[in-house]
Subunit: 372 residues, 2 copies
């Protein structure tokens, strides 16, 4: 019985090695593409080319009796790798004549990431950190961009402490709240001002498909090159007012992180062995536990800042706590009809997204299954 | 400039088509493996073979300058497909001389899934549903296994209404709570009793890597074949007492689903455009929204049952609500130190899992990025 099996497995191993060779070849070709793109100033993320390519392969797969989702998932995984490669390829400089770029807080992870990308794009990058504040005036001399990337609770103070900047210098920040920092920048500098919020951590593979929120300050034409540069890196730049941004972040970041914190606190207090919980967890529940536990491997200060930064976040979270209490009432009174009614209303609010999300989650969970 | 690019892209397309051919060949070989496994009664999920195979490819990848994670992800995706194929291959029947299997509630999705798997494994499967209850006695005549798969809130009643079963017949259920159903089965039947809880929905690709909780009732030897059969299908069977199971489910299922419900209620009440939120959401936040929204594409009754079924769930959720309130106090008083202290305590409770979860989430989020 082992004989036929090991024979078949030997053949599978051959196929997999051939696959490995193809992947190696593909990476080589992709590296050349990145090089060409870099030379001609093309963005590394080309959605149309991606769509067309995947559609073509899906069709061929169907003809060959291969599940189209299989080839699509494999190709997407390869493309992800491609972006990582391309991101180190160098990028066309959108503002070739710009004076030096100064990253304030360049020693921090996010600041360092932008410093790297700007250097890769041909800019002369200087960094300014706490220790060398005494020479701040010299560092910003002739600067074409000053990019503030410091902890949220220091941002306004640091902006206020900046030395005078060249009149045409762009002053921008990367803080995850926007109202206060943009206001502070408008006050500190009479020239071009732009508020940015990269909606991702400094540990992402690449900018490809990531989102950067962009909040208007002053003289947008003067900072248009910066927005273009970030698009070239692969990110989607989304324009939004500082007020709308901060309100959305309350829901997207503050409430989410805080309830994850509370959930972790509850798990720790209930203190059922995590190993036992995991042993009973299918991939989907494992995923939920992962999304909670991962928080606590990160910086408490950062998360407290994110949660406490938005002036309206506390009230938002208090409203959630109150609504949770109202929902609990349905459970306490065993009101199945009331629960179902509310459930349906919420489903109507989600509209077609609910179905779409269920679909998307299937693919994600299948992936979680396969990495288990 | 387009010229060199389109030339390179043509080569990439060639590589991808070659990849497609390999995938087709691989699926063919895998189908043969499944067929051999089925003939010789081998489980479709072979963790050791999987590990060894991946380790070998990772090494070769490193030698060829291919990121080992790339080949591992591609192979795991292929193996996931393999399980889906193999699951339809048929399985060795673990109890060849068993009388007919009766699935009570065989019309339901979960019941139908087990009926299918049992049929694929060579058992004579009958189903018993509400409409044909009048001939229940005839249906269970000579049965070797009666498997109850009905809505949670009907389970105990349905078990009580079962006709007398053959003395050596195994009585088992698939309910997602276990104390009450197991007790009811012990009372309804003097023979072998086994409580089962498949920790997954009827829409999974296959049993491979899924978890089935198994709670002892009476005479485990008599139902050992059933546990073995489920293992053959690829699932991990985890033994746990009914009490521990229900307590764990309170955390794993009830609290999780309920807070997702409350979170959805909050989003709907705050009523910020979902499209705007998504436009500002990087893949990680999109994932969070997906995990909330997906709930509301599903059955409210099912979820109310899951949440309300466990007798202790209400108190568990009330404790969570109270702890959420305590955590809010830290925010209200702007107590960053207190938050950090608690955050660190929770991190200690998670121990090495926090880091591991952060790692796992990276791969998952990268996957989410690439499907965005």
């Amino acid at each position: 019985m082992d004989e036929p099996l090991s024979h078949l497995r030997a053949q599978i191993d051959e196929v997999d090695q051939a696959m490995l060779d193809l992947l190696a070849r593909r990476l080589g070709l992709v590296a050349q593409v990145g090089e060409v793109k870099g030379r001609h100033g093309l963005p590394i993320y080309a959605p149309d080319r991606e769509r067309a390519m995947i559609a073509a392969r899906r069709e061929q797969a169907a003809d060959r009796g291969v599940p189209p989702d299989l080839i699509e998932d494999v190709l997407r995984r390869c493309m992800r790798e491609a972006y990582v490669h391309e991101k180190n390829m160098g990028f066309t400089q959108q503002a070739p004549d710009l004076g030096p770029v100064v990253v304030v807080g360049g020693a921090g992870a996010m600041g360092a990431m932008f410093a790297r990308m700007l250097t890769l794009s041909g800019y002369a990058v200087r960094t300014l950190d706490r220790d060398d504040w005494h020479r701040a005036a010299a560092v910003v001399e002739g600067a074409g961009l000053v990019l503030v990337s410091v902890p949220i609770h220091d941002t306004v103070e640091v902006i206020g402490a900046l030395p005078p900047l060249p009149a045409d210098c762009v002053l921008a920040d990367l803080t995850s709240v926007k109202r206060a920092p943009v206001a502070a920048m408008m006050q500190a500098h009479a020239g071009p001002v732009l508020g940015l919020h990269p909606m991702f951590g400094p540990d992402v593979d690449s900018f490809a498909k990531q989102v950067v929120a962009s909040c208007p300050g002053r003289d947008p034409d003067a900072s248009a090159w910066l927005v273009e540069q970030i698009r070239l890196w692969g990110a989607r730049v989304h324009d939004v007012t500082a007020a709308d941004h901060d309100a959305a972040m309350g829901l997207i970041q503050a409430l989410r992180h805080f309830s994850t914190f509370a959930y972790g606190a509850h798990l720790a207090s209930e203190d059922r062995g995590l190993a036992d919980l995991l042993a009973l967890s299918s991939p989907i529940y494992r995923l939920e536990l992962i999304m909670v536990g991962r928080l606590f491997a990160q910086s408490p200060e950062l998360y407290f800042d994110i949660i406490a930064a938005g002036p309206d976040n506390l009230e938002l979270i208090e409203r959630y706590h109150a609504r949770f209490g109202e929902a609990l009432e349905l459970l306490r009174s065993g009101d199945a009809e009331g629960f179902t009614r509310r459930f349906t209303e919420i489903g109507e609010w989600f509209g077609s997204y609910a179905e779409r999300f269920l679909e998307e989650s299937r693919s994600l969970l299948a992936h979680a299954d396969s990495t288990r």
